[in-house]
């Protein structure tokens, strides 16, 4: 198990103030880390910092062993611009391969095949020619997941991937993610769904104004933070 990300005493925030501080955790390859916290506690901000989109205010976030920020696949909380975007599923999935192209202007054969095989893996190959905005929410999430998988096979960052899905689609997506994790992909997932977190994750990071808990799921269940949270959220 090699370390992929080390976060030491990081403080996150925007120009107008600190959102969360004292973040200390490590992510090893093959981990399934679930990030918990209330609305506005800074989960999406942390994801942006991990991706290098918005640097931390202080502290350190380090990628180890030649593992680069670029090798992270990312499933964002959806933005409204995407909703009326004319794009076919294939075009979107292919765009995940773009970083592999470098300065080359067009996709090569290997990249096109990667896109096709990833679509098969996620069972969306029949959707390839369809328009993204006409798909159901669950199908859309699968498409974005396929794009992320084209970008990397090492680590996936998922920001509330199941929002707006019905229970069946939610559990399907969770199972899919769990399967990818078993295949060796590191997962970092933001979620409000405590039950799912406890069911699938190997590690839990719970943040508020500062870091409330980091450790394995087993330790979380017996920690004070964990027990309080489970009580208020009504988990098992």
């Amino acid at each position: 198990m090699s370390k992929q990300i080390i976060c030491r005493n990081a403080t996150l925030g925007y120009e107008d103030g600190i959102v969360t501080e004292n973040l200390d955790f490590t992510v090893n390859s093959g981990d399934y880390l679930c990030i918990l916290g209330e609305n506005g506690s800074g989960k999406s901000t942390l994801i942006k910092a991990l991706l290098g989109l918005r640097p931390q205010l202080s502290g350190e976030i380090k990628w180890c062993d030649g593992f680069k920020a670029k090798e992270i696949g990312y499933l964002p909380q959806q933005t409204p611009v995407q909703r009326d975007f004319p794009a076919s599923v294939r075009e979107i999935v292919l765009s995940g391969c773009l970083a592999k192209c470098g300065l080359r202007p067009f996709y090569n054969k290997a990249e096109k095949e990667l896109a096709e095989s990833t679509m098969k893996q996620l069972h969306i190959e029949e959707l390839a020619g369809r328009c993204y905005r006409e798909l159901s929410g669950g199908q859309q999430q699968r498409v974005l997941l396929a794009r992320a998988l084209c970008a990397t096979r090492k680590m996936l960052l998922l920001d509330e991937p199941v929002t707006g899905l019905d229970p069946k689609a939610q559990s399907d997506l969770y199972e899919l993610i769990a399967k990818l994790n078993r295949d060796g992909i590191t997962i970092i997932m933001v979620s409000h769904d405590l039950n799912a977190a406890l069911k699938y994750a190997s590690h839990i990071l719970h943040i508020g104004k500062k870091q409330l808990f980091f450790g394995t799921k087993e330790n979380y269940l017996t920690s004070k933070t964990g027990m309080n949270f489970i009580e208020t959220e009504g988990g098992e």
């Binding site: 991706l51 964002p76 076919s88 292919l94 765009s95 020619g129």
Partner: protein
């Protein structure tokens, strides 16, 4: 009618004009989709006003090749507008409105104060709404148009996949190591080139129409990025062709005629899309 057209086409100047019209239409339609989807339409609008101001300044200085002044000013403004548009501290849209309306006012004032031309109103009108007759095109200008369009098309084809990714999801592109800021810059600069290119034809007030209409029209019916781009290019070129011949035969101002053709096609597409099922 055919004879009349044939008669006109004996003159090389008419053939040049047609080439220019078609090229301008093709180029301006290419980036439209991106500008609309990125909510960048305002850049096109703001830049066209800046280009008017630059043109006025160029007229006043009396240089023979006005492009030496217009091109750099418009490109620099494109970069500035992109910056302010993304700066959350300043109200981006207000800043752009200030720049563009300011350029319009100063430009008009300069022309009025310093122009030696006897027909100021006519000059202003043709910079705003395009030449009333395209047959006044000079040969150098035709070559300039061909050169600029070649650059625009080249950039667009070269960066097509990157432009798609950055337009669809900027954060994802950045996260996977694509230099989205650079590509935004390329988009803004190319837009500036297109506007300078199109200004002499349709005038600075109508450029946005030429950029936006074909892509919005194509988006009514087509559902993938590539098909929308191809369709909007085709629509734009066809409308430009129609506009060109109508204005040739009936003496209407070419820019306004082309835009009117675009509007007509837009409504036709609206009707088709509302008949073609439940799709929104």
């Amino acid at each position: 009618m055919a004879e009349k057209i044939q008669y006109y086409f004996q003159f090389p100047i008419v053939r040049y004009a047609l080439i220019v019209v078609l090229l301008v239409a093709l180029c301006s339609s290419l980036l439209g989709v991106t500008l609309v989807l990125k909510r960048f339409s305002f850049i096109g609008d703001g830049l066209s006003h800046v280009a008017f101001g630059a043109m006025a300044a160029a007229t006043v200085t009396g240089v023979t090749n006005q492009m030496i002044i217009i091109l750099p000013i418009t490109v620099i403004s494109a970069v500035l507008i992109l910056r302010t548009g993304r700066n959350t501290k300043i109200r981006g849209d207000a800043a752009i409105a200030m720049i563009s309306v300011g350029a319009l006012a100063v430009g008009y004032m300069l022309i009025n104060m310093f122009s030696k031309s006897a027909n100021i109103a006519g000059d202003v009108c043709s910079t705003l709404f395009g030449s009333t007759s395209i047959l006044t095109l000079k040969k150098e200008k035709v070559w300039l148009c061909i050169g600029l369009s070649a650059i625009v098309i080249f950039i667009f084809v070269l960066f097509y996949n990157k432009i798609f990714a950055v337009t669809f999801d900027e954060n994802f592109s950045k996260a996977t190591g694509i230099d989205a800021d650079t590509y935004n810059l390329i988009i803004a600069i190319t837009t500036a080139l297109i506007i300078v290119l199109a200004m002499s034809l349709v005038g600075s007030l109508l450029i946005s129409a030429l950029i936006i209409f074909p892509s919005i029209t194509a988006m009514r019916i087509f559902r993938s990025f590539k098909s929308v781009i191809i369709c909007s290019a085709v629509i734009s070129v066809i409308c430009a062709g129609i506009g060109f011949f109508v204005s040739l035969l009936y003496g209407t101002p070419v820019g306004a005629t082309i835009v009117t053709a675009n509007i007509a096609v837009f409504f036709i597409f609206c009707i088709i899309s509302s008949f073609s099922g439940t799709k929104k």
